[in-house]
Amino acid sequence: MKVALFVPCYIDQFYPQVAIATMELLTKLGCNVDFPLNQTCCGQPMANSGCEKDAISTGMNLVANFTGYDYIVGPSGSCVLHVREHYSKLPQTKEVTKVRNNIYELSEFLTDILQIQSLEANFPFKVGLHQSCHGQRGMRLSQCSELNQPYYSKIVPLLKLVKGIELIELDRKDECCGFGGTFCVSEEAVSARMGIDRINDHIKNGAQYITAGDSSCLMHLEGLLKRKGSSVRIIHLAELLNSSIN
């Protein structure tokens, strides 16, 4: 299966190991992975700031890069959701519609398309799962605590395929971390406070690692953990599913 790898800009620049892990993982699972070389950003930072009109050429650049692929996979619920939902503001050409329909978040792709039942992965640590909001309430990757619906998750069963892992329970299983794009600087006080409360929930419940499907949340939480001098580490879901630590 041919897959185009979508690497969000901040992963490309600051967390290349997340993209490497995604690429290796998909390759291990039998995909033929392409990386379109002229991709940049999906345009979400501008759109969420109210400037979706000023993000159109950025969006068209993404579409041009991913035209022709049946499967586009990115390790970020937030950016994928942006393409799917807010590219409704781009001219709805055949190419734009196809990219919107064919783009997947990693855990969704592994669960719904590849339907993987096993993984060669080891990660002998206590892990807390941070449910990034856009994956959670935007893409419905797992049951939302607000809704009266039966339990399901597209992420937890994947984590359970990893040998040695111990998933910890949180007091608040799907509360926002407070990153929120430009919110993290425009509403600095609330953003930082939300993040502090999130990391404390993980620390209190014994996490050694915090994982999530979005590096943006993790970058924010990592910044707070480091400032606090905490030994708790962050790890993107892709890195965790691709790890072989014994």
């Binding site: 690497v7 800009c9 992963i11 490309d12 620049q13 600051f14 967390y15 290349p16 190991q17 993209a19 490497i20 990386f35 070389l37 002229n38 940049t40 950003c41 345009g43 930072p45 501008m46 759109a47 969420n48 700031s49 109210g50 400037c51 009109k53 000023d54 050429s57 950025t58 650049n61 909001c133 959670q136 309430r137 935007g138 939302c144 607000e146 809704l147 009266n148 509360e175 926002c176 407070g178 990153f179 929120g180 794009g181 993290c184 425009s186 509403e187 600095e188 006080a189 609330v190 930082a192 406070r193 939300m194 993040g195 502090i196 970058m219 990592e222 910044g223 707070l224 480091k226 400032r227």
Partner: protein
């Protein structure tokens, strides 16, 4: 009136200066959110009820003119005097005229966000009429000359020690007394005196039933009843969107309202009023105050579904950590942030940005308002109408310029990472870097993914 810009980030920053108090505020409201979760999950048909409530509201908003006239006709048949108010001034004048006619010097009022929004208390006080808020939370904030910080729990930002201090100052209780039982008894005795001496009672309206011309009011303290039953004049103020078509629809709303608000199955009192007592008068004032305009905004009309349960406030991680007063609007939190820009776009332009767009508000909403989507849409309007700081708007244009030029993006990325890697700490962490106030910056890697890819795969 000169509109004063509400600076939510600044207000929120002030609120967060007291770390422990912020913790307490967050946990208190989260406790209510959890009660709401339990109550809603005890009903297998919960999601169906939300669908029904939203569908009824949608029907109401599409046929509002007809339902309002039907309601008026039936209310008049019941002996109720119906008044129409285009705006807050109209509303306040109508209330004042009714009070003048009856020579009322003191009016008791049960909770009504609409009259808060109309600044009725201040207006009547300027005319020499005393207004007593009879809801306990509202009375507490009224005594201290504060606005409510929450629409259901007006004094949720105050601790029992704060209430003790306010009562000491205004009701003469012993200094330092903060026992909740004793404080409640004090309020009870104080309020009984007010009820007995009130010349008129004003209430809000939770639901106005077109079919019957009657209204329903939900309270936990029975203060609406007590006021109305003791006073010779009852004035009920309602926004035009409070209409429901039939009595049979009321059950849907009473079931979702209180479960969403406090996690109770229903309020302690659901009072139905269908007309005046013998020898008494009942007035209903139907108020527009910007609602018709909101109804005309296709992207935002659904905000008029709101039944004022406050669930979006309790669940909002930003509200819980910034407090109701930081919004500077009668209805704070997510719902207030989509209602207020329609009233004054410039004044409230920071509110749609006081959100991470996490979406929790839309999921708890019992009438399924797409709150976070409307926040996103207000942001687009604020940017377009030039209500956004010039530098921010230019910054966004610049980002688009860079991101639509892949080689420029790569160049700037590389320069940025290299600079970050060698800058001394004092140059990275200073007042210009909001990120770095509480957080470390990510350690810049030697190469981007693309560079790694080209080195390894080609």
């Amino acid at each position: 009136m000169i509109s004063e810009y509400i600076d939510h980030p600044k207000e929120a920053d002030n609120f967060n200066e007291d770390f422990q108090r912020t913790t307490w505020h967050d946990e208190t409201l989260w406790f209510i959110r959890e009660k709401r979760d339990k109550a809603t999950k005890s009903l297998p048909e919960w999601e169906e009820l939300r669908d029904m409530a939203a569908a009824i509201k949608s029907n109401v908003l599409s046929n509002l003119d007809d339902y309002l006239i039907e309601f008026e006709t039936n209310a008049i048949k019941n002996g109720i005097q119906v008044h129409w108010a285009l705006n807050a001034e109209d509303h306040n004048k109508i209330v004042h005229n009714i009070l003048l006619k009856h020579k009322v010097k003191k009016m008791v009022k049960s909770k009504s966000m609409l009259t808060e929004d109309c600044h009725l208390n201040q207006y009547l006080e300027s005319k020499g009429i005393e207004v007593i808020d009879t809801d306990l939370g509202e009375r507490i904030v009224q005594l201290d000359n504060q606005p409510p910080s929450h629409i259901v729990l007006p004094a949720i930002h105050l601790k029992k020690e704060d209430v003790g201090e306010i009562f000491h100052k205004h009701l003469g209780t012993e200094k330092g007394m903060s026992n909740p039982q004793a404080l409640t008894e004090t309020a009870r005795i104080h309020l009984r005196e007010q009820f007995l001496s009130g010349g008129a009672a004003l209430t809000g309206v939770n639901f106005a039933i077109a079919e019957t011309g009657g209204i329903a009011i939900c309270t936990n303290e029975g203060n609406a009843d007590l006021g109305v039953h003791l006073a010779p004049v009852h004035i009920a103020s309602m926004g035009i969107e409070k209409i429901i078509p039939k009595l049979e629809h009321l059950g849907v709303f009473t079931r979702v309202l209180t479960r969403s608000a406090t996690g109770q199955p229903i309020t302690a009192f659901t009072s139905h009023y269908h007309g005046p007592r013998k020898g008494a008068e009942m007035h209903i004032i139907i108020v527009d105050a910007g609602r018709s305009e909101q109804l005309g905004r296709e992207d935002f009309r659904k905000s008029l579904n709101c039944i004022r349960c406050g669930a979006c406030m309790n669940t909002c991680p930003v509200y819980r950590r910034s407090g109701g007063h930081s919004y500077g609007y009668t209805v704070p939190g997510p719902i207030g942030s989509i209602l207020s820009p329609g009233i004054d776009l410039k004044k409230y332009s920071s509110l749609p940005f006081a959100s991470t767009l996490c979406g929790s508000c839309s999921d708890v909403c019992p009438v399924k308002i797409d709150i976070h989507t409307q926040l996103y849409k207000w942001r687009q309007i604020i940017a377009k109408e030039g209500k956004m700081p010039f530098a921010k708007k230019q910054g966004m244009k610049l980002m688009n310029y860079v991101f639509s030029r892949p080689s420029l993006y790569r160049l700037l990325g590389k320069v940025g990472r290299n600079v970050l890697g060698i800058l001394p700490r004092f140059m990275m962490y200073n007042s210009l870097n909001a990120w770095g106030k509480a957080r470390e910056l990510p350690t810049p890697p030697k190469e981007s993914f693309r560079e790694w890819y080209l080195r390894n795969k080609k």
